[in-house]
């Protein structure tokens, strides 16, 4: 069978590079070997040698190869793009950032001539664990990759040569393997967060299990209300996976490294033979733990979807929460325009009996500057891209994200103004904030809290002086935090202006030789003493001099960062606004209709939180980007 998404094997390594869990799928492995056999028979003269090992590498081999790669690639993920340290035959030689996520391992000793390439290994780092998943591909793909990382030329031209792009397009199994790795990451960390749906009535708001257990709750299976976080941001490690705990006999201690039973159960439910069927862990765990009783009757006329193994029973209602995260880069400059963007989503929880369809018209999309929307797989969207969209969906059980969208701000920025920091000497800076908060915002928009933090990660704050016009200030070693609106004292329907002049003194600058294993770190020692000496005198102002000095030993950031945060002075604003969305996205409760018709109240809520809401130091350098 062509294509498909199968996984040959899975490994989980801890931060000591030891394999703590591994799982091989012999059925998939058999397919791989059969494919290799066919491939070998069909092409005799192939420059790229690949041998089919009798077994998948065992755990110790994987661990060794992983350490080896880490060594040659500088870090767990590797350089990603071709740098001077990149070796031919390594991933970074391919010169693509995706090689930080899709890695290859070379198994076996090179000199013995028995080494072979293992690719593609999907790498997902979660907490202290590295998850490696090896999807099934065809041998020819492996050959192509092998050629790519051996090529002797200067690198790929955009869209012309044999490229990793076409491999990735050809291989849905890689995409699938990522989804598997992500799901497993959530399980081993025990951080399975349902999208948050704000409910005004019931204190216990969770996902599927709440739907099943009502408000009674089963001991040990309580759901958590957590702020919605973008999946990228790794949340703090929470308690162990509560759901899988029942099947395990081993004593459950918080420090236990890995809940292998939960993992095994998840795998045998989600991908019994290595081919994933469903990765919805709440469904899988509920089925494993609860099973089905004779009272769980199948629907009489419809087929029950595989993604909805249980049907809701009880009081019916439907809840929607519009959640928006605001990212902004505020420059207050003539040459760079401020940018503000909103990533929004509509979370839903439909407590409806049977298998009803819900229709939800979304209006005012143009006014809301919504760029494009994307939907939960259960949703049917007859038409796209007009101002009004009618959407029909058959809701799954529990909380789920119904729609995601990108939008612009319909109002002015919630926090406007500037931040100026000027170094009066090498160790002393004078700063000034002048902020306009919630200007033009009317009720019911409410700002629940608003903080401004000035991080100085590379300097130690010795003293601080200054009083803001509003709010309180506290400092820690590296941060000045200004609480403009403390939580509990919300601001509704009016705007305030806040100013904050002050000075901050730092401990004398010390050269930080970060023990970085990243690229280029050795370049530093190579620096020519002839050159360095003079630059100091030529600098015109302190600021530039300091900048120069500090950026000298800045370690390179990971490719996953947008830029080198530490190179800039900025203030980060965090806030939460409720009452309405900033994009203008709204749901009209009256227009929500359910088929077959039932009487179910529609509850709506909205919350806006800040993401990267950054005020750049107006007097310093700042990162920016052109807009089309």
């Amino acid at each position: 069978m062509p294509g498909g998404c199968s996984i040959r094997a899975l490994w989980i390594l801890n931060n000591l590079d030891g394999v703590v869990f591994s799982r091989r799928f012999p059925v998939v492995e058999k397919q791989w070997r059969a494919a290799c056999k066919t491939e070998n028979e069909s092409s005799n003269e192939d420059p790229v040698r690949y041998t089919v090992p009798p077994f998948l590498p065992n755990d110790s081999e994987i661990a060794a190869a992983f350490v080896e790669r880490k060594k040659s690639e500088g870090s767990t993920r590797g350089y990603g793009i071709r740098v001077t340290h990149s070796d031919k035959r390594s991933d970074s030689w391919v010169d693509d950032p995706i090689t930080r996520h899709i890695i290859s391992l070379r198994i076996g000793a090179e000199e013995e001539g028995e080494s072979y390439l293992l690719w593609p290994l999907v790498l997902h780092v979660r907490g202290p664990y590295c998850i490696l998943a090896l999807p099934l591909i065809e041998p020819r793909h492996l050959k192509v990759y092998s050629r790519l990382c051996r090529r002797s030329d200067c690198g790929n031209a955009a869209g012309v040569d044999e490229s990793i792009s076409s491999l990735l397009l050809d291989l849905p199994s890689i995409t699938g393997a990522f989804m598997v790795a992500l799901a497993i990451g959530d399980i081993i960390i025990g951080d399975m967060v349902d999208p948050e749906v704000v409910v005004s009535v019931s204190p216990s708001v969770g996902g599927l299990l709440d739907s099943l257990t009502g408000s009674i709750g089963i001991s040990g299976i309580s759901s958590r209300a957590k702020p919605v976080a973008a999946p990228v941001a790794s949340a703090t490690p929470s308690s162990t996976a509560a759901i899988g705990a029942v099947a395990s006999d081993a004593p459950k201690i918080g420090s236990r490294p890995l809940d292998k039973d939960a993992l095994r159960n998840f795998i045998s439910g989600a991908m019994p033979f290595g081919t994933p069927l469903d990765l919805n862990y709440s469904n899988i765990f509920t089925v494993k733990v609860n099973g089905f009783s004779s009272s769980d009757l199948p629907p009489s006329d419809l087929k029950q979807p595989a993604w909805k193994p249980y049907l809701y029973k009880g009081k019916q209602r439907i809840l929607f929460t519009v959640h928006e995260i605001v990212h902004a880069a505020m420059y207050d400059r003539d040459d760079i325009s401020d940018t503000i963007s909103i990533a929004g989503q509509i979370n839903c929880r439909a407590e409806l009996e049977g298998l009803p369809d819900v229709s939800l018209p979304l209006t005012g999309l143009n006014k809301a500057h919504v760029e494009v929307l994307s939907f939960h797989p259960c949703a049917q969207v007859p038409e796209q891209g007009v101002d009004k969209q009618a959407m029909m969906f058959s809701p799954p059980l529990g909380n789920f994200v119904l729609v995601r969208y990108q939008a612009n701000c319909a109002f002015g920025p919630p926090i406007m103004g500037f931040y100026q920091l000027s170094m009066v000497s090498e160790d002393e800076g004078a700063f000034l904030f002048k902020l306009q908060i919630m200007e033009g915002y009317k009720a019911p928009l409410t700002m629940e809290f608003c903080n401004v933090t000035m991080p100085f990660p590379r300097r130690r704050i010795v003293s601080f002086d200054g009083t803001p016009s509003v709010g309180t200030v506290s400092t820690t070693e590296h941060i000045v935090e200004w609480k403009i609106i403390p939580s509990g004292r919300s601001l509704t329907g009016k705007s305030i202006e806040a100013t904050f002049p002050g000075t901050v003194r730092f401990a004398p600058w010390q050269i930080q030789r970060a023990p970085s294993s990243k690229s280029g770190s050795d370049n530093r020692s190579d620096g020519d003493s002839d050159v360095e000496t003079e630059s100091a005198n030529n600098m015109v102002n302190v600021e530039e001099f300091l900048m120069e000095k500090m950026s000298k030993d800045l370690p390179p950031v990971d490719l996953e960062e947008p830029f080198c945060w530490q190179a800039y002075n900025y203030a980060k604003v965090s806030f939460k606004i409720t009452g309405a969305s900033l994009s203008g996205m709204s749901i009209d409760a009256k227009s929500v209709s359910i088929y077959p018709a039932v009487k179910a109240p529609v509850e709506l809520s909205t919350q806006v939180t800040s993401g990267d809401y950054i005020l750049w130091n107006t007097l310093g350098k700042c990162p920016s980007a052109a807009t089309a």
Binding site: S60, I98, E162, L169, D278, E371, F375, V557, E560, A626
Partner: protein, 1120 residues
């Protein structure tokens, strides 16, 4: 392993099992210790199965998975399988008790058993009844649709059956009808598994083109039999289209029940089926295109897969697809990798569109406004990929420019420039961050992408290259990079590695060269010359390496820089001067390695010369001198060879370590004896001017006093205290005296009669001797023998390995060469210590038959000019400096020591050099107070004085003359001799002109003077008529004196000779006088009385042994 095999102790506790499983997973020795013991394997299965059926064993599921993963180790026999199957049956049929028998266990048992059956290939390796048994068991499980409690178990059983069907295609084809009906009736969430199972069966039927009914339920579900076609391999070709289309229609109605992964599986099977059943692709599109609006990346990918399967059906949807992919990349809610993936998909889609040359479609997609500007908060990885897309877009714009008319031209190019500039803003931090920052890496990656644009590496067509060279992109980037290099010193190494990257690429090295050229052109004139300049050295080094760039500009700059360094040098800059000066030399070295010496010569020699002379640092000066020397002496290719060789030995990059050259490799080993003997066959040291006399003997005068270190006999110089000169005549020497030798009385009484004439003579002699250095106390007078060293390539190669043997077509480079040649000399003759001679480099002679060295034959300059020039390469002039203690011929032994190209040292003896008496002929030293135009007169006077002093009636007797240095004195003991040469005057004069011209001091006789003077070769001497010459008187008298001598000439022509003199005075044309100085302090005087047909040579000397050789010499000179 020293451990006792733990076989005897099969695992009992959970911990034992845990460690057993761990050991297997870990592999290597830990697994080995278990598998090595055969008893373990045989007993394992019983053991494991019994544990699986135990009531309170907690590790049942891990044990099952373990058996599954290592099934090939444990299941090697059919009985194993049967036992496993029995165990499975008992578990599946056991009632649930919630503790030892759970659904979980049942499900895992089914999964593991199925997996084991498949992975050990049970159906093909063992009897079919095993697999039949398993399938039957599974079928009984699934055969209860809608049963509420075990729905998950039924779903798993369906999955097991699907895996069996996948591995053994058409295994279940016979019961397809049953499966379909089960599929239709199942309404719980397990229906996905039923659906997929049935789809799998349909897929295999279609794929194998089986003529099987999918409606027919006449075959009972159980007992299950493996269909004939699998067991006997026969296939019934021909599809039942009608039924299958119905099945497909059924399947296509149900996809909304599938999970995304279920959908994936489903569509992967449905697509080929749809193709085989000739279903319209647009049907699928209608049904499934909506998936693209999902935020599930897998579903979006699925649409892309469909698009690539049915490009026609999805025609016109490209814009929509591209839009969606753009959205995914922008969705911050996504995990980063999916945003990256979406850009990759997009890139590939676009490039496929571009390749498809469906211009219109492509244009519409790109025109959509492919504005992939990175956003501020995009992770750098995303920025990098978006820049890739921009690079891609820039290619498109370039294409537009080329296709479009002039109107669009400037628009497109403007927008390309804008595109690049705008795109790079997002990583502009590379301008102020450290060069190792990730921003820098991303920015330069983008430079690379933009630069190479659409020029593929696989492409052999050169046209894109040409396009590229003229492209706006190229010009823009070139300017940007040069600007960056000039403005931001920090970035120089980055720019250099960027250029390196291009240079190392076969296809794009010209781009790197171009960049270097533009650096050379635009940057070099602009750089400021100060201490910061050294930051640019890495890029200078690349320029120096590059042959395509004339080095003059760089050399100029470096010279200026050297001047700067010299000027700025002070007490505080010592180290800096040294370091920077060395770096400059490093670049010079690079140039030497990569350019033709001729191209460099002028500039580099100026730079090096300046450095040699003025640079404050000694080491730098020294190094410069060495480079200078190498530049001058060693031809290009060989020089490169040397420099490269040094590099290989040290493994250090050339540029930064200029001193590396001086770490001379230690000699590897000496050549063996045979080889060293052979050296003289191929390496030749030859005299530049061959000897006239093939001297095969030499007069050896053994010391009288053996005990004394220096021969007292013929002590040429005495210490100044008066000493009785006891000369002993060794009789043994007299046998050599074959010509007329007349010796003055050895024991003359000191005559102290001083008349004015004598005192004048003495005065002349004193001043003469005072110019002669006393070799015992100071460097004596030297005799230089010019030789050439050459060696023949072919025998040389033969002798020293075939590694140099290359085809003659390779020219000079193919020839072997010798380096650092040291010639050492020794001689038994009293020549003092002979300094060794050093030749830095010598190229082997090409083997040419006609290549014969004959320097005595004056070469025809015009025709052989090239030849001659070429020859110079193969011949090294060698000068042997002798400091003779005695003017005597002799043999000089020569030894060679040299390096061969591969670092070997060869050494050995060469053919010796024979020295003749004529080698000792020197001009007398002229005192420094004699002005130039008085030299001739001085020589003439000196001749007279010496002639007199060596004459028979020498009145100067025992007069001694102090030598230069004041410590030694010399006395003159004259000897006379004559020699008649029967040669015509013409040839005599010619011979004199050729060999003795410089020693002629006076020509007497009008006729002779006219004759000689007209020829113009002998000049700056005294010309005299016969009449005015008083010398004739003395010659006449000496002639008579000779007649009176004890040795009478008895030659038959003696009379005639005298007659000539006496009677035929007219025939006598005149006299030629020659004064020859013989080092260390002797003289040889010839008076040649020239007549038409013969010449009488009167010889006087103060060193009688030389007469023996002079005779031979004269004969060889005039008579042969």
């Amino acid at each position: 392993m020293t451990d006792k095999p733990p076989v005897l102790k099969p695992p009992l506790s959970s911990q034992d099992w845990d460690s057993l499983i761990d050991d297997f997973q870990h592999g290597g020795a830990r697994r080995q210790k278990w598998t090595a013991a055969p008893q373990f394997l045989s007993s394992f299965l019983d053991h494991a199965l019994s544990f699986l059926l135990k009531k309170d064993f907690p590790l049942k599921i891990p044990l099952l998975i373990f058996m599954e993963e290592f099934s090939e180790t444990f299941f090697t026999d059919e009985s194993h399988l049967l036992r496993l199957l029995d165990a499975l049956r008992s578990v599946v049929q056991a009632p649930l008790d919630g503790i030892s028998v759970t659904f979980l266990l049942k499900e895992q048992f089914m999964i593991s058993t199925t997996s084991i059956f498949i992975s050990i290939d049970a159906l093909n390796k063992f009897q079919a009844r095993c697999t039949e048994g398993l399938a039957e068991l599974l079928l009984t499980v699934i055969h209860r649709p809608n049963h509420g409690v075990d729905r998950q178990t039924r779903a798993i059983a369906c999955e097991c059956l699907r895996e069996l069907e996948k591995s053994y295609a058409c295994l279940l084809s016979g019961i397809a009808g049953h499966l379909w009906s089960l599929c239709q009736s199942e309404r719980t969430h397990a229906c996905q598994s039923y659906l997929l199972l049935f789809t799998m069966v349909v897929y295999n039927i279609v794929n194998r083109k089986l003529n099987v009914s999918v409606l027919n339920t006449s075959v009972p579900l159980v007992p299950f039999n493996v269909p004939q076609l699998i067991s006997n391999g026969k296939e019934f070709v021909g599809l039942n289209y009608k039924e299958l289309r119905r099945a497909l229609a059924f399947l296509l109605e149900t996809p909304q029940v599938l999970t995304p992964f279920g959908m994936m599986e489903f569509l992967q099977m449905i697509m080929p089926v749809a193709v085989a059943l000739e279903l319209q692709g647009s049907m699928l599109k209608v049904q499934f295109f909506g998936l693209i609006y999902s935020f599930d990346p897998l579903l979006c990918h699925l649409v892309l897969v469909m698009y690539s399967h049915f490009p026609d059906a999805f025609d016109g949807q490209e814009v929509e697809i591209v839009k969606r992919l753009m959205l995914i990349s922008k969705e911050t809610q996504h995990y980063l990798v999916f945003r990256l993936l979406s850009l990759h998909w997009l890139l590939d889609l676009l490039s496929k569109l571009m390749l498809s040359r469906e211009g219109k479609k492509y244009k519409s997609v790109v025109d959509m406004g492919l504005r992939f500007y990175p956003a501020v908060f995009d992770p750098l990885a995303l920025k990098a990929l978006k820049l890739d897309l921009l690079a891609f877009y820039s290619i498109y714009l370039e294409g537009l420019k080329l296709e479009g008319g002039s109107g669009e031209d400037c628009d497109a190019s403007k927008s390309v420039v804008k595109l690049i500039e705008d795109g790079l803003i997002s990583v502009s931090a590379f301008k102020w961050l450290s060069p190792w920052s990730t921003e820098t890496a991303v920015a330069f990656r983008a430079f690379h992408k933009f630069l190479i644009g659409a020029s593929s590496h696989s492409d052999t067509d050169p046209s894109p290259t040409r396009t590229l060279m003229n492209s706006v992109i190229f010009h823009t980037l070139q300017g940007m990079l040069v600007g960056l290099t000039l403005d931001i010193l920090r970035l120089v190494p980055v720019v250099v590695s960027f250029i390196d990257r291009l240079l190392s690429c076969q296809k794009h090295c010209w781009l790197g060269e171009r960049l270097l050229q533009s650096v050379d052109k635009y940057l070099l004139p602009k750089v400021k010359i100060d201490y910061q300049l050294v930051s640019y050295f890495p890029v200078f080094d690349r320029i120096a390496e590059n042959n395509s760039i004339p080095p003059s500009t760089l050399l100029d700059l470096l010279t200026k820089f050297m001047v700067f360094l010299v000027e700025k040098h002070g007490p505080n800059t010592g180290l800096k001067s040294w370091s920077q000066g060395s770096k400059v030399l490093g670049i010079c070295r690079t140039m030497l390695m990569h350019h033709h010496s001729s191209r460099l010569f002028l500039g580099l020699s100026r730079l090096l010369a300046f450095t040699c002379l003025y640079f404050p640092d000694l080491e730098v000066r020294d190094n410069a001198r060495v480079y200078m020397r190498m530049l001058i002496c060693i031809p290009g290719m060989k020089l490169k060879g040397i420099l490269n060789f040094g590099e290989q030995l040290l493994g250090i990059s050339p540029s930064t370590h200029s001193s590396s050259f001086f770490n001379v490799p230690s000699p590897r080993h000496y050549q063996n004896f045979k080889k060293s003997r052979g050296i003289s066959y191929c390496i030749h040291l030859e005299r530049m001017i061959p000897l006239l006399v093939k001297q095969c003997w030499s007069l050896s005068l053994p010391p009288s006093d053996i005990g004394s270190s220096k021969p007292s006999h013929l002590e040429s110089i005495m210490d100044s205290e008066p000493q009785v000169d006891l000369r002993e005549l060794d009789v043994s020497t007299s046998f050599l005296a074959t010509s007329e030798i007349e010796r003055t009385n050895q024991l003359q009484e000191p005559l102290r009669v001083m008349d004015s004439k004598i005192s004048q003579i003495l005065g002349v002699l004193r001043s003469h001797f005072s110019c002669i250095p006393d070799f015992r106390h100071m460097p004596g007078i030297k005799v230089n023998i010019s030789c050439i060293l050459r060696f023949e390539s072919e025998p040389f190669n033969h002798l020293f390995g075939a590694s140099f043997l290359t085809s003659p077509a390779d020219g000079v480079d193919a020839l072997p060469s010798l380096y650092a040649i040291v010639l050492k000399f020794s001689s038994s003759a009293p020549y003092g210590s002979i300094p060794s001679y050093h030749i830095p480099f010598l190229l082997g002679e090409p083997s040419r038959n006609n290549h014969i060295s004959c320097p005595s034959v004056s070469p025809d300059i015009v025709s052989v000019e090239n030849d001659f020039e070429e020859e110079e390469n193969y011949r090294a002039p060698v000068t042997i400096d002798l400091e003779p203690r005695e003017p005597t011929p002799g043999l000089v032994d020569a030894f060679i020591e040299a390096n061969v190209e591969n670092g070997q040292i060869i050494h050995g003896q060469l053919q010796g050099i024979t020295l003749g008496i004529e080698d000792m002929f020197l001009k007398a030293i002229v005192p420094s107070d004699i002005s130039e135009h008085a030299v001739a007169a001085y020589y003439s006077g000196l001749f007279d004085a010496l002639w007199e002093a060596c004459g028979p009636s020498a009145n100067i007797g025992r007069e001694t003359f102090p030598l230069k240095g004041g410590k030694g004195v010399a006395a003159i003991n004259g000897t006379r001799s004559v020699k008649l040469l029967e040669v015509p005057a013409d040839s005599l004069i010619r011979a004199i002109e050729q060999h003795l011209a410089s020693f002629v001091v006076r020509v007497i006789g009008e006729h002779l003077v006219n004759m000689v003077k007209d020829r113009g070769i002998i000049k700056d001497i005294i010309w005299k008529d016969a009449a005015s010459d008083s010398f004739l008187v003395s010659t006449a008298s000496s002639l008579t004196g000779l007649d009176q001598g004890p040795l009478h000439l008895t030659y038959f022509n003696d009379g005639e000779e005298r007659e000539t003199q006496v009677n035929g005075y007219k025939r006598r044309m005149g006299c030629i006088l020659l004064l020859i100085f013989l080092p260390p302090r002797f003289h040889l005087l010839f008076q040649m009385e020239v007549s038409d047909i013969s010449t009488l040579v009167r010889i006087r000397t103060d060193h009688w042994p030389c007469l023996a050789y002079v005779d031979d010499y004269l004969e060889a000179l005039f008579l042969t």
